[in-house]
Symmetry: C2
């Protein structure tokens, strides 16, 4: 039995575009005489479609598109994720099993995730009494993403009715460590049931989510016999030889027959391909690149613009942007103030030269001075404070937005997660932009990514001086981040405990000591909620990003 894993990158809502892509991959699967080609969860509509699912006409159009696809799918069995409505008006997250130009049945997702970034119970009803299929003489079971994660998932009943090949179609978003977790799970499910396990994952960026692909096939011993690329579209072929079996009919589960492709007797063998796994830090980097590339392209932009301060955050974002959209589509802007040192300005220029990107310079002092003059009657007797610092950041934000408006470029913001967490960032200033590339990257990880980029390039693309200079916002004289914040290695550990692990203030102090520091950090995180709520989306890379994953009230009297 030859199975093709079609790891595609659809666009949410673009039904026609997705259908053409699916049709193309079906052709590619048929060209190599695959019997079955499997697509990811919601391949037809993209994932997650969110409130598009509340539009009845969207569900109807998705069905219409599926019907076109069914008619053109000959000489192969295709498993395609789509939205399945029932007569009562409920909708299901479903897989169409298409065979020989006909719909051979539908599997409806049984376990609906409604935690983290997922809201599936907002939309879907759970499937019940799903069918399995007989392929020649091998019973084949289909399931969708979450269905195999709980201990009592669909794999349990499928094993019980005699399934020999399990195919799970997923749209499982990337986060650090997820690939290993996923593969361990799939291997365990294969081994426990003694079945071949085919796992097809989505790839591509969708707003704050990146789907990392990495589709794979496990044999009945739980050994990985094929693995697709990560962070790229791919079609992976695998030849397996499942034992024949009978389907024990239980609980009114229906059984339908499928047949192998016409060419199956004559076809040449395909070697099972296993794409090597990348290092953990490379995966983070590639997630950021793919997330940025797809946000730019899928929203109809070509070029991006960002402020280059000479600091490490903007240097890293510039490097990611170049890898995402090409150096000719990245414009850097330096916006020096009276507090900008020659060293940082020089670094910004060196970085732009290394990346070979266009660099524009606009000084902010003339505008800044004029603001202060206009405000002087009102602020006459007030001491300098954060007002003046924010004003400078906001002038920079306005200038970048002026480039965006005038030239049609997308503004990338350069703030990291440590800053976003404690509010060490200016609303309508450095937070201005369409996509916040590293908003989920802690400062310590920013350093690791810079080191990775330089190592991969074979030289210091990001100048050593950028990496070694103590971080500074340069919004007042001799300012250092560490005047206001604890050292980043300490800060990031506290943030991980508070944000990702939801630990209490008391538990964090127990872990790290420094009660005053911990209390101050936690308080800063709580008080910055209003800023984060107005930030642009950015790539989720941790188990808990500031986005759909983090739904804390702004108005909040809890202080522990």
């Amino acid at each position: 039995m030859r199975i093709a894993l079609a790891q595609i990158n659809p666009t949410v809502g673009d039904l026609d575009g997705n259908r053409h892509k699916i049709a193309e991959y079906i052709r590619r699967a048929r060209d190599l005489s695959a019997d079955i080609v499997a697509f990811p969860e919601c391949a037809l509509c993209g994932y997650p479609p969110e409130d598009l699912l509340l539009k009845k006409h969207f569900v109807r159009d998705n069905l219409k598109t599926l019907r076109f696809l069914i008619a053109e799918t000959k000489h192969i069995t295709a498993i395609v994720g789509f939205i399945d409505p029932d007569a009562a008006g409920n909708i299901y997250n479903a897989a169409a099993v298409i065979s020989q130009g006909k719909l051979a049945g539908v599997y409806r997702k049984e376990h609906l995730p409604n935690y983290g970034v997922f809201d599936e119970k907002r939309y879907f009803s759970p499937g019940e009494q799903n069918p399995v299929w007989l392929f020649d003489s091998a019973p084949v079971g289909v399931s969708i993403c979450e269905d195999i994660w709980p201990a009592d998932g669909s794999h349990i009943w499928q094993a019980a009715v005699g399934v020999r090949v399990m195919i799970n179609i997923s749209s499982s978003p990337y986060e650090m460590g997820k690939l290993a977790t996923r593969r361990k799970l799939v291997a365990a499910r294969a081994k426990d049931a003694g079945v071949y396990f085919v796992y097809v994952n989505l790839v591509g960026g969708q707003d704050e989510l990146v789907f990392d692909g990495g589709s794979c096939v496990m044999n009945p011993c739980g050994k990985m016999i094929a693995a697709a690329k990560a962070f790229a579209e791919d079609i992976l072929f695998v030849d397996i030889d499942p034992l024949p079996g009978a389907i024990a009919r239980r609980e009114r589960r229906t059984v339908m027959g499928l047949t192998s492709s016409a060419e199956s007797g004559a076809r040449a063998a395909v070697p099972n391909r296993i794409e090597p796994a990348q290092s953990k830090i490379e995966r983070v980097y590639r997630a950021l690149v793919l997330g940025t590339r797809d946000y730019v392209a899928k929203n109809g932009f070509k070029k991006v613009v960002l402020g280059l301060s000479g600091g490490i955050d903007s240097a890293l974002v510039a490097a990611i942007a170049v890898d995402a959209v090409g150096r000719e589509n990245v414009v850097g802007v330096t916006m020096p103030s009276q507090f900008t040192s020659g060293a940082t300005l020089g670094d910004a220029k060196r970085l732009a030269a290394n990346l070979n990107i266009e660099l524009v310079s606009v000084a902010i002092k003339p505008v800044y001075d004029r603001y202060l003059e206009q405000l002087a009657p009102e602020f006459a007797k007030a001491a300098l404070d954060v007002t003046e610092e924010n004003l400078q950041a906001r002038i920079r934000g306005n200038l970048l937005m002026a480039f965006s408006n005038k030239k049609g470029w997308l503004v990338l913001t350069t703030g990291n997660k440590s800053e976003m967490a404690v509010g060490y960032c200016t609303l309508y200033g450095d937070m201005s932009g369409g996509f916040a590339v590293i908003k989920d990257v802690l400062k310590t990880t920013v350093y690791a990514l810079a080191a990775f980029k330089n190592a991969a390039a074979g030289y210091d693309v990001i100048p050593r001086s950028v990496i070694e200079r103590p971080p500074t916002a340069e919004l007042k004289a001799n300012q250092k981040d560490q005047d206001t914040l604890p050292p980043y290695d300490v800060l990031d550990e506290i943030l991980k405990a508070y944000v990702e692990e939801s630990l209490s203030l008391a538990a964090i102090v127990k872990k790290f000591g420094q009660p005053d520091v911990v209390r101050r950090v936690v308080r800063m995180v709580d008080l910055s909620e209003y800023k984060r709520r107005q930030s642009p989306p950015g790539v989720k890379i941790t188990p808990r990003a500031f986005g759909k994953d983090w739904r804390l009230p702004i108005t909040n009297g809890y202080r522990e």
Copy 2:
């Protein structure tokens, strides 16, 4: 049997503050010899606590707080909404029935809303096998909010086991028309089961939600015999005389006995009070006032600042702000440009005088000119376009934020829903601020609210010239909103159909004709998603607000 409906305004997360408030209302209920005092859903922790519920220590602290409350609750039965954890780590949206210093049982919400603004399945498990209580000889059933909305809700089994008094504790947010819907439902539930129905609702603002109170009691014929205030805290007493009954034990539902208050024999009768219902437009106005007041106060602000353009939106927001926080806590800022007419500037001054608020003036042209000079080398040959318009709006945003930073005032934004929907607003410009008072108010409703305010005041607080001038952003010469947008009465009808009713482009054209206009409006709404995502929260008043209610992807290829 004397029941007190304690319609309180707690603060999300402020467990100690809420406990003191609850204790105070228990005292007030006891002072008038009530047998039972009922508080709203989640009274102890505020509603909705959102991801605070994912903090184990928050749930623990809520239990600890409940224990304090139990110990101090003597000589009365109190029904208090709280979070109830079980041994397996699940949590429930629950009601504690406290009697004579002891916990007499817990009811766990059975129906969990997971649509619209609600995410309860993200947090809670559904209750099962809930108890009812025998009060003297009358069977009393408790339920929580959603439990009585579905046809097969908790009221069905409670009626079946013989309940004579149903008490529903709710945190039901305001939207236009909701009060009538709610009261109709409660009346029907009372009549169908032939029971007294006590409905206690939350009051107060929490981020984008406003809870409107309006608690009420229906007699077994479905007639309203008592009704509390809307949009204000209240304690409503009602004396009812339910028929005694026995509890049919079914499905292992437990039964516990409660007793009447010690003074019940001697107490004087309380007349049943029915607060009159306000007009529909007054309710909208009061929702905006309460939502603004609570956002300001619960987030620790005292004063607010807003830009006064001389237009109707900012005039209305200023009037609301004065009613919310007092005229001495509202500062208006006029920021005239070269395009500002003498008439609009005069209107801004007249409005400020009518409202008796401080008015500050800062001209933006000097700063604007300096921006253009700085950008000239880059923009040399480009024609004037939206860039220059946005720049002016952003200078105004920066000035307001400078006041906010320097003086600690909260910035109120003044954009309405029609603008937010089609993106007729400037990100980091007029969208800059902490709270967007009228972001869910369509322009046609803005006019209705201005008329209401003037009628209520008995004179034109909002000058007639403000109301009658054709809307203009005054960001270029002779600009009118209607140069870019269809007339607001047409626009608002299309927006209602597209946003609130989720109709397709084709269905809207069928309804209103004008295919080109409809197509353009729908496209503008879709393309503005990225702006809305970065907007501050504001009061929800319609069935579907841009906020938790509206989860459309930014990256979205669907065009129907």
